[in-house]
Structure formats: structure tokens, C-alpha cells
């Protein structure tokens, strides 16, 4: 069984993002870009399933500009077998939307015939949390979203997925092929080791365009303006409970 893993290149989680002065988008010029943390978890899960014998091949895929190949290389250095790069030069005014990405991934899934597609539950740049669900719908496959545990039964061609829900854990059983999106506690991603980085150098990254896949990724959404969230006012340290009560009464007016 093959596993297809979708990965996205985003501004590194630890970077303080800034809005471009013209307020059209977030500034990404000379900003550290890394793999979306939830995608890292998706790659890790696919590798673990392969190592457990549930899968024979892990294919990483991304939609993005030329530099997104770095993200695929990270996936290959973690241990993915090969990669597909769907080239797309972004236009900040017309961002690539989850539906377009889901259509691309659907086309890839139909080509590759994976038993499982694993995606991060959301990307930390746009926070959409839609691609996996849309992909499942387009493919008409079952979905296990926000997975915190995945078990594959190869013989029965079933996946058991645990997902965290309010007040506990929900366990669902899916027929393969299926779409799974990862939550934070699914696993702890591995590091890229030197031997694996070396091996990754000879792994293949296939380049295609959305047109090659017959997918129209035109966006019908326009970004008008990007703003930082309002800053929270600094707090104050009070010297006594008395003062606190006074402020709660007379300033905050909550008492």
C-alpha cells in the first residue's frame, strides 16, 4: 500500500510574523520558512506505518513555488521515498485556497492510488483546516480528522483512528482508502539524520503543473487587506488586594 502525504511550506512556527507595509500579505522575504508542524506529524505517521509494515511506499507532495522543494527535501530526509512537486507561483492577492489544493491532491491520488492520504489538520499560516475534509469529499473516501492515534489493519483494509473530542476520545473505523488529518499528539516527529539526508539526495522529486493534472486552481477569493490583530494593553502590577478591588470596581466595573 502507498501512503500519500501532503506537506506545506510556511513561515517557521518560531518566527514573529509581520505584515508587509502595503498590508497585502504577511512578509515572507528573507523569513525562515519551514514545514508546517502538522505536516511534519503527517510525514512521521506515514513513516511509522511503513516501518510497521502497513505500507510499502511513502510519497510526499506539495503545491507551491520552486522553493517549496526544500520542504519536500525535508520530507525525503525524514525518510519519505519520493516526492511530487506541483509547481505554483503564488499571487498574494489570489491565494491558493484549500479547495484548489484538495483538487490537486485528488488528481495525484487518482494517479498514485494510495491506500491512505495523510495531511496536517491545518496549516499554521492560514489556519483553514479544510483541505483534508474537502479532499475526502472529492474522492468520496471516508475521513478521520484530528487523529491522535492510527492503526492500520492491512488484511481487513481498515484504519482505526482515535480522535480527541470534547470530554474524551472518539474511536472510528474507516475502510481504506481513506483520508486522515493529524492532530498534535499523534506522534513526535523525528529529526533528519545525516545518513538520511545523504540518501535523500538521490531520491526523485517529480515536477508537474496543475495544468498537467488538469486542475483549475484559479482562486475566486481576493485578499483586500491584511492586518495585525489588535495589541493587548500591557498589564499593571498592583501593590495590594485593596487596590485590585478598587480597580475591579471603578475601572473594569465588574464588581
Amino acid at each position: 500500500m502507498k501512503i500519500l502525504v501532503a506537506v506545506k511550506r510556511v513561515v517557521d512556527y518560531a518566527v514573529k510574523v509581520r505584515v508587509r507595509p502595503d498590508r497585502t500579505a504577511v512578509d515572507t522575504a528573507s523569513v525562515k520558512m519551514s514545514m508546517n508542524p502538522f505536516c511534519e506529524i503527517a510525514v512521521e505517521e506515514a513513516l511509522r506505518l511503513r516501518e510497521a509494515g502497513a505500507s510499502a511506499e511513502v510519497i510526499a507532495a506539495t503545491v507551491g513555488p520552486a522553493q517549496a522543494a526544500d520542504t519536500l527535501r525535508t520530507a525525503l530526509a525524514m525518510g519519505a521515498d519520493r516526492a511530487v512537486h506541483v509547481l505554483h507561483d503564488p499571487d498574494p492577492a489570489r491565494p491558493l485556497l484549500p479547495l484548489a489544493v484538495a483538487k490537486v491532491l485528488r488528481a495525484l491520488a487518482l494517479q498514485e492510488n494510495p491506500g491512505l492520504v495523510i495531511l496536517g489538520k491545518q496549516a499554521i499560516d492560514d489556519d483553514c483546516n479544510q483541505t483534508g475534509q474537502m479532499l475526502a469529499a472529492l474522492l468520496n473516501w471516508p475521513q478521520g480528522t484530528f487523529a491522535s492515534k492510527v492503526i492500520i489493519d492491512k488484511d481487513k483494509q481498515k484504519a482505526t483512528v482515535e480522535r480527541e473530542v470534547d470530554g474524551g476520545t472518539e474511536t472510528i473505523c474507516l475502510d481504506l482508502p481513506a483520508v486522515i488529518t493529524t492532530d498534535l499528539r499523534l506522534n513526535q516527529p523525528r529529526y533528519a539524520t545525516l545518513p538520511n539526508i545523504m540518501k535523500a539526495k538521490s531520491k526523485v522529486i517529480t515536477k508537474v503543473t496543475p495544468a498537467d493534472l488538469n486542475v483549475d486552481i484559479r482562486s475566486d477569493m481576493e485578499v483586500v487587506q491584511v492586518d495585525e490583530p489588535p495589541k493587548r494593553k500591557a498589564g499593571v502590577i498592583l501593590s495590594s488586594v485593596h487596590e485590585l478591588l478598587d480597580k475591579l470596581k471603578n475601572e473594569a466595573r465588574v464588581l
Binding site: 517557521d12 518560531a14 510574523v17 523569513v31 508542524p37 499554521i124 529529526y191 545525516l194 491584511v226 490583530p229
Partner: protein, 609 residues
């Protein structure tokens, strides 16, 4: 359809975010049930700067450093009613760096309790309950004893809030970071301006009251705490940034600014501090300068003697010495500021600083490697100097024992190379201006080193969080050491080829009595030799000293590479300095501090003064 987009709220804007925090931060994003407005507001709380200026957060806030995020996460937790157990698991991560400012916030440690104990018993002066860490030093009877008039005078200068007699707070300031040295001061002063420092010192000089200048109290040689009843003058209240020249990268600030806050501030301006060290969340720039701290960027940016452009110092008699220039070049007479860089508070109190900050470069890569023997580490260093010369920014090494200790005592840290144990580990960091060029260069270098057998295994960080995790291991060794109990710390400069021999000799001398760790700034020939046991004991000390000093002197090394002499090594200076040099130092001390009120019993041997 048109939308008005807000920034993604799933990232938390704190630099220096470490792996487990990242996880905790991310887990707050469980999208379920989190109304977008609530999340936006929540994340707004991590913003540093106020709209007007770039002042770093005020002290009480600042002292929490990156930890603020934990409360942020805590808030998300309740806000979302999440069932998220991992949060609590990672929450305390940053609280592990022990004391912050001695006078604010609780410092949960045995030291506090013990110190408290001692202060309750005023008759007890300098009781070394902490073991034989230092031979007892007689109190010099020439110093006056603090009286209530003194306290009233200080209150008239500093106000009630600047004069601390509260036993708990004074107790915390009496004990050093390791819990190894404990003084018996009754008074902690918190000046807020140069003028206040000047008045305090002038008074102390006239009364002959001994004084300990104190910064973040993270010093490792007992320099920052009183030996007897010296008045503690802590600079934490002087934490203002005065100016930043963002063309030349010159920062001017007060001495009490916490290093990490300065880092955050200059990074927002596109620069970095020329030094970085594990204690950054607590140590102050004035303390760094007074100890001439080396740290993790030394290999790239060199010593503070090169990076400090100017200082303002208050001398023992209250004279304010203005040397606060911001010039790169200034050859007019003796360059006096250098006397105060590394003099550990024995010549004056540093009140203001101007310091050169290098430009922040966009590309940083970090690799964590293992080596099978010490020879490979040395060869790797040489190869890295040649192969990565223009981009190398750190070359740190740790032995196996350090890794085991870090894994056992640091929360949320993972061994990047868990599959087999190695004798040595090396952290290499490169900093440059071109991400893809630097990365390709580092990869090629490491793959070659692996083929040549210098590197046994290794990992390269793929994102900032991974890099932070590697650094966390190296930076956390001091902290993990302290958790074992007693630490004997030696900070030695030794020619690189001999550097590890002392660790092995020490191991065979001590056998089962103690655990011996070796790590440090290999790129600078600087070994940190840590000897750990559950309690301080005379037996162990007798095995270590004077052997370690004699050995180091025998190899023409220095008995203090970067931590200074403090009270730990004041009497040991002759292992590294000639009698003539020590004599001249003593003459300088007598000239600028004739009553010897500043940091007595430290730095220089009593016999020389």
C-alpha cells in the same frame, strides 16, 4: 468573494520558543470550539512592544522571559475547555532556570529555605552550611556594622521600595545560583538611577560599609553574593534602554537590563547581541560586563573587550566616571573601560553600557553530531574552521555524561540521537546571509566529515524549534547539574589537544565518589569541568583541589576562562598570573577603592591588599 484577513492566530510570537513549548502552544490551537475572536485576543497577549516605543517589558514581566507563554497556554486551556493533558506536561518547561531577580517572585529551591533559616539567626555569620565550598574567610573588622541610621539614610535616597529588609527577599539575594555560597547580609538596595548608586556608594565609603554589586545573581564563582554582612546593591531596577543606533548597531542601556530582553529588543531592530549564554533569562548586561562573560557566540564575535564601546561606572567614593562613548575608534590615553570589563564589581559599579551589536543574519543552521572519540572532535573543529570558516557561529562539545544528565533532568528534552550512545557530542551552528547556500555548505561539510569518520552520526535541524531543542540540551547542562545536588564547577582554558585529559584524570581520581562531566566551548579552548555529587564534602574537594589548578597551571592554561575568580578562586589567582601582575592589580584596587568597600574578599588574594 472578498475577505479581510487577520493574521493566523496559530503562531505564538515569542522568539526563542523551544520545542516543548511549541508543542504546548500548538496544542492550544485545537480548532474545535475556539471562537476566532477569542483566539486572536489570546495571542495578542504575547506581544512585547507597546505601539510607541521599543522598551522591553518591565522588570517584573521581563523576569518571566519566555515563560510568559506558559501562562498564555494556560489561559487557552481554560478558555477552550480542552481535554488537553499535554499542556500541563510542557507548561513548566521554562521555569526551570532557577532564580530570576532575587527580589521578585518566589524562587523555589532548597537554597532559599536554607538561606531563610540562616537569616532568622542573626548571630550566625557566614556559616557554611553548604559544605566546604570555600574555606571560611574572617570578616574584616575595619568594616562598620550596619545600623538603623544607615537604613534611614538609604530610605531617604532610594525610598521605601528601594530598601529591602524583608527577610525572605534578602535571603534570596544572599545565596548564589548554585546554592553553594551564602552570605549574611541584612540589607538589599535597589537603586533606580546612576545618581542613586552614586549617593549610596559615597555614603558607604564614608561609613566604610562593605558593598556587593549584584546583577542577575547567576555568577558561578560566588562573586555576586556577600561573604559576610556586605550591603547588596542590585542593579535590577536600572533596566532602561537609552538609545539604539540602528545604522551602526550600537545599543546604549542601563546596566540592569536582562540580556534576553536586550536580545529581543535588538533582534526586532535587525541586530543581535554579541553574546549569548544559558543564563540569558536572568543575567544582566552589567553582570556580563563585570564578569567579561564569554558564552556561546564568542567564537564568532569575540570578547566583550572588543564589543563594549563605552561604560558609565560609579567608583567607590561615588564619583561617576563617564566613559560612555559610542565610538568604534578612540585612542585618547589609557582605555579605562577595560579595567571594569571583568573586574567583577571590585573596582566600581557599572551603571550604563554602550555595546556594539552585529547585524542579524537571516540564515541559521544547527547540527547536533556525535563523535566516537575526543580526537575526532578536535579534527572536526579544525575541519570546521577550514570548511565553514566564514559562517561558523558556535562549536560546542559535550561528553556522554552530559547528555545522560540533560535527558534525566531537563523536562521535555529529547535526545536527537537516541539509538546508540556515543562518547562525545558536538553542536555546530552556522550563521550567514544565504539560506540555501549555507545549508548546502553545512550539509556537504557534514557528509564529508561523516565519510572521513570524524562524525559518527548526526542530525540537522529542519526548523527553528528543532534547532532550539539542540541548544536547549547544551544550555541546560548547568541547570541539570544543579538538580543533582552539589556541583563543583571549574571553568578552564586549556590547549584544545589537552583539554579532555583533565576530565579523564579527574574521573579516575574520584572513582565512585562523584560524577564527572566535561563540556564547553571547544572552539575557544574552554572546558567546563563539572563534578557532581549529592552533597558538598571535604573528601571530594580534597581530591579535586588543588590538583585541578596545578594541572591547569602545568599546561599553561587559565583557572578561569570566563566565569571569573569571585570568592571561589580569589586566593588561586597565582596559578594563572605572575606575582608582579597580581601586585599591580592590587595597586589599582587600592587606588580606586582605598577603603576597599567594593566586593571585599573576592578577586584578589587578601595578602596582596
Amino acid at each position: 468573494m472578498a475577505i479581510l484577513s487577520l493574521l493566523s492566530s496559530s503562531r505564538t510570537r515569542l522568539s526563542g520558543l523551544r520545542e516543548p513549548l511549541r508543542q504546548a502552544g500548538l496544542s492550544a490551537l485545537l480548532t474545535r470550539g475556539a471562537p476566532p475572536h477569542a483566539r486572536a485576543a489570546d495571542h495578542g497577549s504575547t506581544e512585547f512592544s507597546s505601539p510607541g516605543g521599543h522598551r522591553p517589558p518591565p522588570l517584573h514581566w521581563a523576569s518571566v522571559g519566555s515563560r510568559t507563554i506558559s501562562s498564555d497556554v494556560g489561559m487557552s486551556l481554560t478558555q477552550y475547555g480542552s481535554t488537553n493533558h499535554a499542556l500541563t506536561l510542557h507548561k513548566r518547561f521554562y521555569q526551570t532556570l532557577r532564580p530570576q531577580h532575587p527580589y521578585c517572585g518566589p524562587r523555589a529551591s532548597i537554597a532559599t529555605i536554607e538561606a531563610h533559616h540562616s537569616v532568622n539567626d542573626p548571630s550566625e555569620v557566614q556559616r557554611r552550611t553548604f559544605g566546604s565550598a570555600a574555606k571560611s574567610i574572617q570578616r574584616n573588622p575595619a568594616y562598620s556594622v550596619l545600623n538603623s541610621e544607615d537604613v534611614s539614610y538609604f530610605k531617604s535616597i532610594l525610598g521605601d521600595n528601594g530598601v529591602i529588609q524583608d527577610k525572605d527577599r534578602v535571603a534570596v539575594a544572599n545565596v548564589d545560583w548554585m546554592g553553594k555560597y551564602k552570605g549574611a547580609s541584612q540589607l538589599l538596595l535597589l537603586p533606580k538611577s546612576t545618581n542613586e548608586v552614586s549617593k549610596v556608594l559615597a555614603y558607604c565609603d564614608s561609613r566604610r560599609l562593605a558593598v556587593v554589586p549584584q546583577g542577575g545573581n547567576t555568577g558561578l564563582v560566588g562573586g555576586s553574593v556577600p561573604v559576610h554582612d556586605e550591603v547588596i546593591v542590585n542593579l535590577g531596577g536600572m533596566d532602561k534602554i537609552i538609545s539604539f543606533d540602528n545604522v551602526n548597531g550600537i545599543l546604549t542601556c542601563e546596566a540592569g537590563c536582562v540580556l534576553e530582553n536586550l536580545s529581543t529588543f535588538v533582534e526586532n531592530e535587525g541586530f543581535i547581541m554579541p553574546l549569548d549564554l544559558g543564563a540569558k533569562g536572568s543575567c544582566q548586561i552589567g553582570g556580563n560586563i563585570s564578569t567579561n562573560a564569554g558564552g556561546l557566540r564568542f567564537i564568532r564575535y569575540g570578547s566583550l573587550h572588543g564589543n563594549v564601546l563605552g561604560l558609565e561606572v560609579v567608583l567607590a567614593n561615588g564619583t561617576v566616571l563617564d566613559m560612555l562613548t559610542t565610538l568604534r575608534k578612540d585612542n585618547t590615553g589609557y582605555d579605562l573601560k577595560h579595567l571594569f570589563v571583568g573586574s567583577e564589581g571590585s573596582l566600581g559599579i557599572v551603571t550604563k553600557v554602550s555595546i556594539l551589536t552585529p547585524a542579524k543574519l537571516p540564515s541559521t543552521n544547527v547540527a547536533f553530531l556525535s563523535c566516537n572519540d575526543y580526537m575526532s572532535c578536535q579534527k572536526l573543529l579544525l575541519a570546521a574552521r577550514r570548511g565553514l570558516g566564514e559562517i561558523i557561529s558556535a562549536f560546542e562539545f559535550m561528553d556522554r555524561q552530559c547528555i545522560d544528565l540533560a535527558m534525566a533532568h531537563l523536562e521535555g528534552v529529547h535526545n536527537p540521537l537516541p539509538f546508540s550512545p556515543y562518547k562525545f557530542y558536538v553542536l555546530i551552528e552556522t550563521t550567514g546571509s544565504d539560506e540555501s547556500y549555507d545549508k548546502a555548505k553545512l550539509e556537504a561539510f557534514l557528509l564529508r566529515s561523516m565519510e572521513d569518520g570524524l562524525v559518527a552520526d548526526g542530525v540537522i535541524a529542519q526548523d527553528i524549534s528543532q534547532a532550539s531543542n539542540f541548544w536547549r540540551i547544551r544550555e541546560g547542562i548547568s541547570e541539570a547539574s544543579v538538580k543533582v545536588g552539589a556541583v563543583y564547577k571549574y571553568d578552564l582554558s586549556i590547549p584544545v589537544e589537552k583539554l579532555y585529559d583533565i576530565v579523564e584524570e579527574m574521573r579516575s581520581r574520584l572513582g565512585d565518589m562523584a560524577e564527572v562531566l566535561g563540556y564547553g566551548h571547544l572552539g575557544d579552548g574552554n572546558l567546563h569541568l563539572n563534578i557532581l555529587s549529592s552533597k558538598y564534602s571535604d573528601n571530594i574537594l580534597a581530591q579535586i583541589e588543588p590538583f585541578v589548578y596545578e594541572w591547569t597551571a602545568g599546561h599553561r592554561g587559565s583557572i578561569s576562562a570566563e566565569h571569573g575568580l569571585g570568592q571561589m578562586k580569589a586566593e588561586k589567582i597565582h596559578y594563572s598570573k605572575s606575582p608582579e601582575a597580581v601586585q599591580l592589580m592590587a595597586s589599582i584596587k587600592k587606588l580606586v577603592d582605598p577603603n576597599s568597600i567594593l566586593n571585599p574578599y573576592k578577586v584578589l588574594p587578601q595578602s596582596a591588599l
